[in-house]
Amino acid sequence: MSRLVKSFLNVNHSRHDGIHRAETILENVRAGRVVDDLESWVESALDHPSWAIRNIAVKVVRLASLKIHAHRLCKMLLDMKQVGFIRRNAACALAEIGVGCPETLQSLEKALDDPYWEVRTASARSLASLVSPDRRLEEILISRIFKDPGHLNLKLPIIFPGRIYRERNFEVRMAMTWALGTCAETPRSLQAIRLLIQDDNWKVRNTALEAVCIIRLQRVKLKSEIDAILTNIDLSSTDFEPVFQIRQTWNCLNHSMGSSGNSRAGGD
């Protein structure tokens, strides 16, 4: 019994040691300091039994731009035995280190079906940063957002917008809408955005408008379709950012004095 307790304590102790070391390495990499044997540490840490250390290793791979591990991260992204944070961080990392790796786009597309919402969000964001206008991805995103692509032709306004969505999570819808804006190739993207502009959540509507901006910049040909969308927009919102006038005045004064004022201010 005592041996069992001792072994447990040893394992726990070494685990904490390992996490501490991993966090130190992460801090050093983040600060741009040189870390000895980083490659070999990452190699072993990506296989470590503790998910916390594997997670830190994925972050280090991203920060240090270790492109050699892109293939490995693709595998981790699709491995359901990895915890959600690792899959999410792998998806984020692939946006930076996965350029040129043929597996990256395929893995990120598959990860759009991940059961954990943060992974789907990160995958959609990474795809948005990696792709240029792409008809195939456009169709994939539309099929992930909506239950039935036939919904794209629905008459507006939609009384129950929740019923047309396959993707229930607003944050994922936001990320996919943004991705749709960047990969828009055909008017079908605009048809999808026409519906997303009717979303219950103003953040999704806002992202849909941003997507319209991107499409307008990239696809001048779609101007008439864009104008048609912009005629029927719900600009109401459940959130706002207050502006405290006195703080604005302070900022003006501070600016005019070249930040050399001698009074006290509550800085955020």
Partner: protein
């Protein structure tokens, strides 16, 4: 004090006098609420200025551009204002010889000191972490155990030991368990849980104070019922002589809460700090124990329960063990903000829910 004076005047007057009014718990409850409210209103502005003079405020020092949306610079430790108003109002209108009232004053002092130490350490070190969580838990548990000892001790307790050790549940006439001396541990758990849940909820302007005074109102009504022989008999509650004084104390909490809300409503001129949130939670827990309605807090204080549960699940189970999030953000009010609801909207919706929960919990008076 005022009650004792007015009561004496009533006793020495030869004919039925105006002073007899002050013998009624209902009348004194109203006076307690109004007194606490006006104390807050009168003391509030100079108190806020005093806190600013002492720089007890949520502030980062230095120059440069400030965020126009931020709330930094808002004074904290507003709990002092709440407890000053509750204290003065209760001193005026409660019967200070009543054992329930004495226990409540003990709770106020204990949690004020605990909250003050927590806030003071934050202020002194200019950091977000004040007293370490384990010391806070120890202090809360210690209070719970002390309260248990007082409550179960026939000499000190306002109730008989045979009754004190029984555990009651809302919607049931008969006790659900006889915990014996183990009741002290149950009290410690209750106090710790309720106190921390209010503390976790205090994250947005006015979010903690309104549900707190709704809960206080519910407990005040229960205290009045169990302290009134006719009503206790009618609603089939165990009659607790003298517990009606708790209703006056609850009214003082209600009045002080409204008075504090005058300044704490969005955008806040003052934050209650840990002094306020830990204190309010601790006092509500003490009241729940004294009138034996601990489980009623699960309904009346449902907002606090859900907030605490969301925070604990996210922080101690989902993130460190499962390696994923349960909610977008924790506690729950931050999830709603993340989903795109303005702070004011989240707060008002939480108030509405807490009002509905208070009404539902009042149904436990009749449905038994």
């Amino acid at each position: 004090m005022l009650y004792a004076l007015l009561n004496w005047l009533h006793e020495i007057s030869v004919s039925p006098s105006f002073f007899r009014l002050f013998g009624y718990i209902t009348f004194r409850s109203i006076l307690a609420a109004v007194t606490a409210f006006f104390i807050c209103l009168i003391v509030g502005p100079p108190f806020i200025r005093y806190l600013k003079r002492l720089h007890i405020e949520d502030i980062a020092w230095g120059y440069g551009i400030v965020q126009t949306q931020g709330k930094t610079g808002t004074p904290t430790m507003g709990g002092f204002l709440i407890f000053f108003a509750i204290g003065i109002s209760s001193l005026f209108w409660c019967d200070l010889t009543n054992r329930y009232v004495q226990i409540l004053f003990f709770a106020v002092i204990w949690f004020c000191i605990l909250g003050f130490v927590d806030d003071f350490l934050k202020y002194r070190h200019k950091s977000k972490t004040g007293l370490k969580a384990k010391y806070k838990l120890i202090a809360q548990c210690m209070f719970g155990i002390l309260l248990g000892i007082i409550y179960l001790n026939p000499v000190l307790s306002p109730v008989e030991y045979e009754f004190a050790r029984l555990l009651y549940s809302p919607f049931l006439k008969t006790p659900v368990a006889d915990l014996g001396l183990g009741y002290a541990i149950f009290i410690a758990l209750t106090v710790t849980a309720i106190s921390n849940s209010v503390n976790l909820t205090d994250g947005l302007d006015g979010l903690a104070v309104v549900p707190s005074f709704f809960v206080a109102a519910v407990y005040g009504i229960f205290a009045y019922v169990v302290g009134n022989y006719i009503l206790a008999d009618y609603f089939l509650f165990e009659y607790l002589p003298g517990s009606g004084e708790i209703a006056i104390f609850c009214s003082a909490i209600f009045g002080a809460g409204m008075g504090f809300l005058w300044f704490n409503s969005y955008p806040a001129q003052i934050f209650m700090g840990d002094l306020g949130s830990l204190g309010l939670g601790g006092i509500l827990a003490t009241i729940a124990v004294l009138i034996k309605q601990e489980f009623l807090f699960l309904i009346a204080g449902g907002i606090f329960v859900v907030e605490a549960a969301s925070s604990l699940l996210q922080r101690y189970i989902y993130i460190p063990i499962k390696g994923r999030r349960l909610l977008f953000r924790a506690p729950l009010h931050h999830t709603f903000q993340h989903r795109g609801l303005a702070e004011t909207k989240v707060v008002v919706r939480f108030w509405i829910v807490s009002a509905i929960l208070a009404l539902i919990s009042l149904s436990a008076l009749k449905i038994r």
